[in-house]
């Protein structure tokens, strides 16, 4: 299955799209933010610069940001497809994309400090597999920047300092704390991708998975949908603004997912994604036909 299909080429194109072209609804959210900022304010100037940058990157097929991030990938595959092959093909695609300068050589040997030079390394790219009933492949990817990754946070409830208990009010309190701690340092305005529950690892992973959702979607759980809305409004009242220059546009979206937990644990994980909220999705049918989504 898929033996005749050149997956490396498709994966390389997926990386190019993610690195150079932001999803339309993210651009719309940045533009909407720009329009609510005061004319001539630093916030508006910052957002104007970002919007110009987005057009330039798209037109010249060049990276939106010089930190091209970690490729984090979720692949759904039908019964009988080798995940080893998929992993090898995707890794090769990252090498090609690096050579073509869609990506910066962005992997460093942690102990020696030496850059691997080809964009790949241990756990880079980071790929998650899931077998499904569909006949084709579905590949979703984000490019997760380092500056914004540095301001992510994981809380365990209860948190006495923040008076945050094990309920959605507790979640609200720690998430707002994460935004205050981050200030503009994660290249605000950002997207808050949150997971409630899970263990320390699954919680981070599931929070990142929230970045695959469209900014404009509605959470199927009405309570969480409500909390997403409220957190977005409250985060934007903090006055941090683009780059931390002050202003009304601190976050572009809030997405919350849930996992079950151990009785002893209640984690709330906040992944902060910068304005360069890069994502690309492709569906590949058995003949190699492609459907591009974002």
């Amino acid at each position: 299955m898929f033996e005749q299909v050149d997956l490396k080429e498709t994966f390389t194109e997926l990386v190019r799209r993610a690195s150079t072209d932001l999803p339309g609804e993210v651009v719309d959210a940045i533009r909407a933010g720009r329009n609510v900022e005061e004319d001539g304010s630093l916030a508006q100037k910052a957002l104007d610069t970002i919007l110009t940058n987005i057009v330039m990157a798209d037109e010249s097929s060049a990276p939106l940001c010089q930190d091209t991030g970690t490729p984090v990938v979720w692949i759904k595959y039908p019964v009988g497809v080798s995940t080893r092959r998929l992993e090898a093909d995707f890794t090769e695609a990252v090498r090609r994309a690096t050579k073509l300068k869609y990506l910066r050589p962005n992997a460093v040997d942690t102990l020696t400090g030496r850059n691997t030079g080809n964009g790949t390394g241990r756990a880079i790219p980071s790929i998650h597999f899931e077998e499904w009933d569909g006949p084709g492949l579905e590949v979703k990817m984000i490019l997760k920047g380092g500056g914004s990754e540095n301001v992510g946070a994981q809380y365990k409830l209860p948190d006495t300092g923040l008076e945050a208990g094990r309920d959605l009010e507790g979640v609200r309190r720690v998430v707002l704390d994460a935004v205050v701690q981050a200030q503009g340092k994660g290249c605000a305005p950002g997207v808050l991708a949150i997971c409630i529950g899970g263990d320390r690892v699954s919680s981070f992973e599931h929070s990142k998975e929230q970045l695959l959702r469209s900014l404009g979607d509605t959470n199927p759980n009405p309570e969480l949908a409500e909390l997403e809305k409220r957190l977005m409004a409250e985060a934007n009242e903090l006055g941090i603004g683009p780059m931390g220059f002050g202003g009304k546009t601190t976050v572009l979206g809030v997405k919350i997912g849930v996992l079950d937990r151990l009785p002893a644990c209640y984690f709330v994980t906040v992944t902060y994604m910068c304005w360069a909220d890069r994502r690309a999705i492709v569906q590949i049918d058995e003949e190699g036909g492609l459907t591009w989504l974002s």
């Binding site: 630093l42 100037k45 910052a46 610069t49 970002i50 110009t52 940058n53 330039m56 990157a57 010249s60 060049a62 990276p63 939106l64 940001c65 010089q66 930190d67 300068k101 910066r104 850059n115 920047g145 500056g147 540095n150 923040l162 008076e163 309190r173 707002l176 704390d177 205050v180 200030q183 503009g184 340092k185 290249c187 409250e234 009242e237 903090l238 006055g239 941090i240 603004g241 780059m243 931390g244 220059f245 002050g246 910068c274 304005w275 360069a276």
Partner: protein, 195 residues
Amino acid sequence: MAELKLPVSEKSVRDLEVGDFLELSGRMITGRDAAHKWLMEEYREEVAPFLKDTVIYHCGPVVNQKDDGSWEFIAAGPTTSIREEPYQADVIARYGLRGVIGKGGMAGRTLAGLGNSGAVYLHAIGGAAQVLARAIPRVEKVFMLDEFGVPEALWVIEVDRFPVVVTMDSHGGSLHDTIENGSKTKFDELLGRKG
């Protein structure tokens, strides 16, 4: 918006205030972690003239070497500045820098150094790699390329209307402190607690 020509005098820099939006034109130099450490290990005479009365840009660029051997910047956004906090004030004083460009702001030691030496912290737009690369039409020279590699080398560059915001000035003003304090007050209010 004001244009600021580099090199710049101490007096012009002391006139700048937090919140000023500037477009820089002229010669500056890049440097990040390895460069700052190296500049403080001993006085680097060969680089000193390229630091005097100009600014150092915290940037690890993506560069391209053209067929004729010359260099160009193809992506050049700012990197996080706070890592240089242990060195910055001393590098400014020792080499007569008039400013620093980066993102995220810096802390008290640097802020005091800006006042003592007559310098400013300039915030570039994080992630705006294409806009900023295009404001760098020429790469003049590079120091320590073999030793430090592309991102960490000291690149002497010419900039043309490079957009920045003064977020820390020579009068003790810091936009970062103001915004952080404001957001904490609002945070306490949202959480229903007294500050």
